[in-house]
Symmetry: C2
Subunit: 388 residues, 2 copies
């Protein structure tokens, strides 16, 4: 069910011909009946934002935070495609609006795939009417499949929170970094919420999930997280109840993305404590998590903590070598900036696991933060060395 688990939503997915070989590449999530409801979104910070990001931003601003549908294509990012790309993104919204009987500004649009390739409007023109006709509460799984690119599995989530539900689907397997990733996520809820409160809750949820994920340090041109609130389940008990459910949903989707990172053999949690501030802890954790050398060591299951210390020392945060400690899976291997006697077999056993924890304590202050990443493997290179 995922994106249609919350009351008031329908979805559909199809193959319209953007991808070769008839693979699914077009998804639609809509409010049942095509009426606009409160909506909010978080978009990429990349200044090379793709055409669909520009159009969706404009539409949300024009409606004051209301939307009736989200149309998503995969196989082409419609990024760096000039005025023609903007016309295709806007035209796609027009077609969806015509099908649903809403205004074009009430449709949001997302694309994911290759950058810099003109997006042919013809498959979309043919695909959208069929997709609108196929909308149903049972279409969530097909929608979740149609937004994937290099992902190996669909990412779906349902969170039941008392009287209301949050459902969602996402894609993302590389070019994953704060803020956010080559990732799209469409969330729905039947809770009632005003656009502003919905936006606040979404931003908090994204900050605690997708923005704590980094696979390769690259921030994509197309990242978008959207939430629509149908309101059919009424108001949540308190203002934090919806925020909590959204956070849970985003956290689940983020973890599903990290676990499906291109070529990854390990899911790695890097936690930094004892930093001068939370912001410095986050910066230090990212420096470790994005280090090619650390990620190679993690792939090899090699307990080479020297690279962790080196990245901490060059992360641009307050740092005193003789206060630093590093642990793998809780076993301290470096204390006061120097080698610590430890159980090497315990460390080796931990590093051989699929889920690995690297913890560094800077010994300076109360700042703490964690990020999730993956190892760097030949599979990642193989996946990314050729796009065609």
């Amino acid at each position: 069910m995922s994106v249609t688990a919350a009351g008031g939503f329908v979805a559909a997915g199809t193959a319209c011909g953007i991808k070769p070989a008839g693979r699914p590449d077009l998804a639609l999530v809509a409010v049942d009946g095509g009426r606009p409801v409160p909506a909010a979104a978080v978009f990429t910070t990349n200044r090379a934002a793709a055409a669909p990001v520009q159009v969706s931003r404009r539409h949300l601003a024009a409606t004051g935070g209301r939307a009736a549908a989200v149309i998503v294509n995969s196989g082409n990012a419609n990024a760096a495609t000039g005025p023609a790309g903007l016309a295709v993104a806007a035209g796609t919204c027009d077609r969806v609006a015509a099908g649903l009987g809403c205004r074009p500004e009430e449709v949001l649009v997302c694309s994911t795939g290759l950058i810099g390739i003109p997006l042919d409007p013809a498959p979309l023109a043919a695909g959208v009417p069929a997709l609108v006709a196929a909308l149903s509460a049972g279409g969530a799984a097909r929608a979740a499949t149609a937004i994937l690119t290099t992902d190996t599995v669909a990412k779906e989530v349902v969170v039941r929170a008392g009287a209301f539900t949050v459902g969602g689907m996402a894609k993302g397997a590389a070019m994953l970094a704060p803020d956010m990733a080559t990732m799209l996520a469409v969330l729905t809820t039947d809770a009632a919420a005003e656009p502003e409160a919905l936006g606040d809750a979404l931003r908090r949820a994204v900050a605690g999930s997708f923005n704590q994920l980094t696979v390769d340090g690259s921030t994509s041109t197309n990242d978008t997280v959207v939430v629509l609130a149908s309101g059919v389940a009424g108001s949540p008990a308190g203002p934090d109840e919806l925020a909590g459910a959204l956070a849970d949903a985003c956290a689940s989707l983020a973890l599903q993305m990290a676990a499906d990172a291109e070529g990854a053999t390990k899911l790695v949690r890097v936690e930094v404590t004892g930093a001068a501030s939370h912001a410095e802890a986050a910066r230090a954790a990212r420096a470790v998590a994005e280090s090619q050398l650390v990620k190679c060591s993690l792939f090899g299951g090699d307990p080479y903590w020297g690279r962790v210390v080196s990245e901490l020392g060059s992360a641009g945060v307050a740092f005193e070598l003789d206060r630093v400690s590093v642990a793998y899976g809780g076993t301290v291997v470096c204390r006061q900036g120097a080698p610590a006697a430890h159980d090497a077999e315990a460390v080796a056993a931990h590093l051989a696991r699929r889920q690995v924890a690297v913890t560094a304590d800077l010994g300076l202050g109360p700042g703490r933060a964690a990020v999730t990443t993956a190892d760097l493997t030949p599979g990642y290179i193989d996946e990314n060395m050729r796009t065609s």
Copy 2:
């Protein structure tokens, strides 16, 4: 000759037992006769600076910029080794000073290799006297070999500039990034120069060479570039003559390092023009050069310029998508932020070369900068996934 090409210097290299299997691991460069001469150095900006960096900084400060020798070991970085590591670094200087008949503060020390492994002083105690006894003008090649770690070739340079000479040796193959790299370089000149002028010239030379090199974005704990000026060839014609020769020497060594980057199949020059400032151009060029995704494309010879545009857009510099152009080897593939008709065969032929040029024009201002990098390959992962 390299490091002994300039008049007044002797060198030696040996295997003292830090590395296994009798591989060369200890080098000494000294002023003939052991007298102190003007010296300058540039050290890593990493706050986890290794013990030898801490000791060499202290020695240079104590002498006001004079040194008689530089002792370098490979196979162990003596970094994150606590007070014991500091004692080993200082003790090594003591032994060299005893052998040469100079003061310990007149000896600089460098180490390169693994971080966080205690450095056993015993091999150094035995090796230093033998090394001092072996010092000769013919020892440069053995010294250049003894400082290598994962390098596949020795890096040496000789620059003749009128009446004086600059010679040098360096090592570095990964963990290469501004500022500077896992790199050591020892330079010598027979030009006469005061420590302050020598330091200025060295900093300019480093800024234009080693600091424009990035292999993996990691800044090591041990980076050191040292220059000693024996003065036996007298004063240069003008203040810029020595700076120019030092810059040439550093540029050559930096290029030799990039060409020997771990696992690399391509030497890549990324140039950004049209930025709002030179600093923003440098930041943007580094973002492209350090992108795992761009480096994977370069390994595959794939003309996927969308990744270049995406990195430029997220580099944190002034950026307007519709002003950006990108070229490979001079062939423009993206113009005004959108695909440009181009000779695809010319691009493919250029990307198949060992030396590749990526140029991006931001179309905003006069800022320009270039960095040199390498592609990301399975060989890099293979080299770095296990340290033992």
